[in-house]
Symmetry: C2
Subunit: 271 residues, 2 copies
Amino acid sequence: MNRKQLIEQIRAKKSFLCIGLDSELEKIPKHLLTAQDPVFEFNKQIIDATHHLAVAYKPNTAFYEYRGIKGWESLQKTIEYLNQNYPEIFTIADAKRGDIGNTSKMYAKTFFSEMNFHSVTVAPYMGKDSVSPFLEFENKWVILLALTSNSGAFDFQFKELKESKNKLFEEVLKISQTWADPNRMMYVSGATKAQYLSDLRKIIPHHFLLVPGVGAQGGSLAEVAKYGLNSDVGLLVNSSRGIIFASQDKDFAQKAQNEASKLQKEMATFL
Amino acid sequence: MNRKQLIEQIRAKKSFLCIGLDSELEKIPKHLLTAQDPVFEFNKQIIDATHHLAVAYKPNTAFYEYRGIKGWESLQKTIEYLNQNYPEIFTIADAKRGDIGNTSKMYAKTFFSEMNFHSVTVAPYMGKDSVSPFLEFENKWVILLALTSNSGAFDFQFKELKESKNKLFEEVLKISQTWADPNRMMYVSGATKAQYLSDLRKIIPHHFLLVPGVGAQGGSLAEVAKYGLNSDVGLLVNSSRGIIFASQDKDFAQKAQNEASKLQKEMATFL
């Protein structure tokens, strides 16, 4: 999917909502456990109930891998279902991969060829050759970790560098800009640190940001919109647990729709 | 596996060799392709031919994931085979994972409960809470990326920080030391930068180092031993392609044994 198609979808739906499919088997409604693949059934019903309110879905690979082969099957069925039924939806493999070149090439194959996601989240620590193999696929995207929403973000990401005077996350933004333009790269920027979004926008005015941490992790949508929006919208705001686990009863899909709808309506006011 | 058991194995075998199972389907000998699971068959024969020369095996998860469910099956069979037949061997899931706490917890479950590896490689960019869930498992290890062996290591890892005057990889070593002691944590330190091992040993005299990059990537074993050995050996030196793809014919296991034997004999001279 290219940038133009993504922006058109956002404008049409008046939404920049990404729904995180952190679909832990132990947390899905009990009545689904008799299904052949309970996690896929859960995802399917969530997607069917919310696809008109969201522009992207982001399965977090950890929540599939911990069930081994069965989890991998649920993940593959989910991406196939999305691609077949909702081809306009932007898909994100939240995998946070990154390794030396010949290994990153294999991870790129995993998520872009084997599973046909539009994008994958990538960790920056190992530098350019750990990222560039992901950029060799047409109409696929790298979403690079810059500023994450967790407490550990303060351990390294905010440390100032001697020579450039940049904080580490700013250095990541500045250097990685030379690897790919805003049509091929986005950045993860945690919503719990919304006050830093304006600094970040000075470095990368045009890139899309994937913003986790709204809702369960405490980030404010209004703050994110205030500092993060650009002329092409430039935001994908993710909510996971606040939507998909809004109810653990038979009404879970309806309740998920209600929560997604609240966020979409708020987003529409900013567009 | 605890540190004492690992050191005893190293002393008994006079080897600190780790064999990287980067077992790409397209690169294994053609005669194996008729096997029910060619990659597992390849790994099994490599392991059987080299287990007395190596103390650790390190499947790189990317080389399994790119084949989807079939790849995940090959990986699971490989770790089961190692645990059942060679329980003295230290096993490393080279997965380079790392995410916010509740997600890292799932990755820890994946590699420690679902697959029963002894250790997993973890990326440091997201800080303490991305690493600590892996440390909650008894007799399991985190192998944290510090200094990697690729060209991209120079993009961020060598940048000097303003306040502490540490290079980023040194800062990672210093800060992460407060998260776990040398009985629970090791560090990745690339052999292609062996001259930095002495600086690194000043910061972490007691930790084990997992050193990739010897052989195919150009690192020297003698240099690594010179700067990296400590009183408990403290080194696991990895070789992947140089051993497992020494031959692509029917003699591949014998040739792998020959290459592993050369490295083991050289290692014995340093112990």
